[in-house]
Amino acid sequence: MRALAALALLPLLGSCGPGEREAPSADPGTDGSAARPTRDVLDATLAELGVSRREGVLSARELRGNRGLLPGELDGEKGESSPESVSGPGASADPGADPLDPEMVEYRDGLVGMVVSDPRYLEAATGDVVAAANELAPALAAGLRELDRPAEDLKVLAQFARSAPHADTAAALAELSADHDDPTVRAFASWALITSAELAGSGGAVPALLRRLKYEKDTMALLWAARALAAHDNLSGLPTLAAIAGAGVEASGAANQQLYEVVRLTTGREDVTAEDADRLMAEWAAGKRSRSSAAPTSLRGEIWRLISDLSGEHFQLRGVDDARFILSRLGPWAATELGAALEDDDEYVRLHAAQVLERMGPRGEGAAPSLELALHDSNDGVAGAAAEALASVAPAAAGAPLAARLNEAPPHEVRVALIRSLGRTHAAPVELLLTAFEAEGAPADLRLAAAEGLIAAQEEQACLPWLASAMSQRFGDPAGAEALLGRWLAGIDSQDPELGHWALLRPSWEDLGPQHAIIHTADQARERRAGRAQLLLNHLRTLPGR
């Protein structure tokens, strides 16, 4: 484990830049002490970056400490960042930072005041900002963090920061894009972050922008967050741009324009079409379009901080949810780190790291060897999550290791996950799935997991009657059976000579479902499932040989 920690540190500590240090030798751990790769690397990284570690909003320790806090009291009392606040490099107040140069503060405010009073001065003022970029950056960053400034001031500051990109202002813009109440200011901040992609070692703003994809509700602010991500070679926001472009809202035109701009810049072609945009999004999802080099130091620090957010030391799930969301959209940048995290001593970190890799899909392929090892994790939950992740990141190669693990008679929970995962690989071993499905006394969860694979392998005839009847059972997983059958019916090609007849059932299936804006009660849901089960069973009876 210590070796792992040291290995993880190697690329980080050996990187060029201020404060460059010699990497420690990779000493295979011999002292038997418990190692925490996440914590070790995190602390080392943060120390190098000069920022402090974030504590959970409410830890289990505090919970046990019987603190009588009410919602709303927590933030103020603990001085903790809100779940949405940005924590990227440079985001935390650094008590050791040099005081601002009063002359630069005065100069900044003079320029801002001039532009606010007359926008025609913008070009001239921007020229001055560019000329004094490095000297002025700390003052600009501090100004961007003064959230009680007038919105117009902040927009001008964002424009200045855009014209003279700097690491300090990039971190401040990332905070502003999340924290300001005015959506136009948030939009300006994201827009201004586009140029920070030109900075050497840029990328520290990416997690903050990804968090906006999750939380931003203003379409214009969302649009610019997605666009700034693309500037940083992260195309996670393209589906968002496409959705806004097609939504027929005020921001649709701008979203459409920016979407094509990204496609043009990424493909290097001028004449791009909607199909090019779709192809680009598909390639990104498949891991074929992203930065292949290792993450820059600034981003790697944030990756480890996000991985530490997965830890069981944090009680509240919202931080975990955010970390899962962001890490899974970082692309191959985080696969190496997540692979290392699969060996952390904290089972929470291991399990959630596997979940994140599952969500990354082929973009996480680099972690496949670590996932194979994790199939034997002592925690059944981690082993199960690793199985599902392996099938997701390397569907073509996962079959053999999954089947091998299945042959070792693992615990039930792992067995279910292995069967479910095998069904999601590209070449599901039908015999294994059938054996699991038909085993006498097999629990419903195991049969449902096998059924999913059988349907994917087009062996639906083996499990359709059981699935249909499972839908009308009170116990087992009637909702899971219904969801699986619903997906299967929706995906059938009506022209398919063998299965096309099932597509004819789709209207009746939908008619039995809830109408728009209605959610069924438990009784209505049971009735719906019974009706749908009957629909399928009736159709099965009409088929030849039944």
């Binding site: 089972e347 939950g381 629990p443 969801a483 959610i519």
Partner: protein
């Protein structure tokens, strides 16, 4: 010598009989018929169905509870896109609490998810035995005394994610050590010997919601109408559980002749409802919404400042289990201003009438 041998044999036989009787006596004393049933310890715990054979009453109670429905609940399935959003699995199909640790965050499990928060979630110990009231190694599930089962930390892994336990800690109930169980898992006949109900009623049981708050209406000396809601018995804020719960107050002018109640429990033939107040905690991204949760002991008076209220007024407090406020991803988002029927997806908690000025 022969006589001696016979006596010795008789003594041995007698000893065996005494041992058997003692064994029977103690098993009758310690083990209930359920616990000494013919069931054998399973090689592996794979489903809470395995608990049903011996604990049918408890199992039936649980099976009818929201905990058993946590995976099948339609609201949850819609909001989680059939659990494609896997973040929801952590609490809706959690791993055994004694494995992850009391008071710790829960972790999701890969199997028996459809059983939701099941028997094994709360009772399965890391060594394969079951946490229970008593030690009984002879029972199939080998229960082991674990008093922690009574503690709020059993519930907090999931229910304090939205600070319900923190809210409780700010009430006198905490000072008197009256935890979650006192209201949500009461004794069947009021005494420990009968065991606790496993239906675990909460926000899904409207009677329980009704008992938590009072709702009154009046006119002040100048004749201005108002309604007052007070959290009198909720052991935590009303409602609790961020986003998933809300409570609304609506009012409308009441015609003088509207004496009969319809099936919802409000005046038949009344006019249009007007929204007065929403009680809920904002979701994490809703920065423009203030939390209006009603903490324990808090009383809130809301004036009905409208000329139409000069005549009679009918006001209702309704309880919503899924506010769906600004959630476009569900496809059913609606601003509260667009809602006209208070009972469309909410239940009546209390109704009051305020006479004409």
């Amino acid at each position: 010598m022969r006589t001696l041998g016979l006596r010795k044999g008789m003594r041995i036989a007698l000893g065996i009989i005494v041992l058997l009787l003692a064994s029977w006596f103690f098993s009758a004393l310690i083990g209930t018929p359920e616990e000494t049933a013919s069931a054998q310890t399973p090689a592996e715990w794979v489903s809470s169905e395995q608990c049903r054979e011996c604990h049918s009453q408890i199992w039936d109670e649980w099976a009818a509870s929201p905990h058993a429905n946590s995976w099948l609940n339609e609201d949850v399935r819609v909001q989680s896109d059939q659990f494609a959003n896997k973040d929801c699995i952590d609490c809706h199909a959690p791993r055994p609490i004694f494995e992850t640790g009391l008071g710790e965050r829960v972790l999701p499990r890969s199997s028996r998810r459809a059983e939701g928060v099941d028997c094994l979630t709360c009772h399965l110990l890391p060594d394969g035995k079951m946490a229970g009231k008593i030690d009984n190694p002879r029972a199939a599930c080998q229960p082991t005394t674990r008093r922690e089962l009574q503690r709020v930390e059993m519930c907090s892994g999931c229910h304090d994610q939205h600070k319900t336990v923190q809210q409780w800690k700010a009430t006198p109930f905490a000072e008197h050590n009256e935890g979650c169980m006192e209201c949500h898992m009461p004794y069947r006949d009021g005494t420990p010997k009968s065991g606790r109900f496993h239906t675990m009623p909460g926000g899904h049981y409207i009677e329980m919601v009704r008992s938590a708050v009072t709702f009154m209406g009046e006119r002040d000396g100048a004749g201005a109408p108002s309604v007052t809601i007070t959290n009198v018995r909720g052991g935590h804020s009303y409602p609790t559980d961020e986003r998933s719960r809300a409570s609304d107050i609506w009012w409308r002018p009441l015609p003088a002749d509207a004496d009969t109640l319809n099936e919802t429990g409000v005046a038949a033939g009344g006019g249009s409802w007007r929204h007065l107040h929403r009680i809920r905690d904002p979701y994490r991204h809703e920065k423009d919404i203030e939390s209006t949760l009603l903490h324990f002991g808090e009383s809130r008076t809301l004036a009905i400042d409208d000329p139409d209220a000069d005549g009679g007024v009918e006001a209702v407090l309704v309880y919503k289990r899924s506010p769906y406020y600004r959630d476009p991803e569900t496809g059913i988002a609606r601003e509260i201003d667009a809602v006209t029927d208070p009972f469309e997806d909410a239940e009546l908690v209390h109704r009051v009438k305020v006479g004409p000025r």
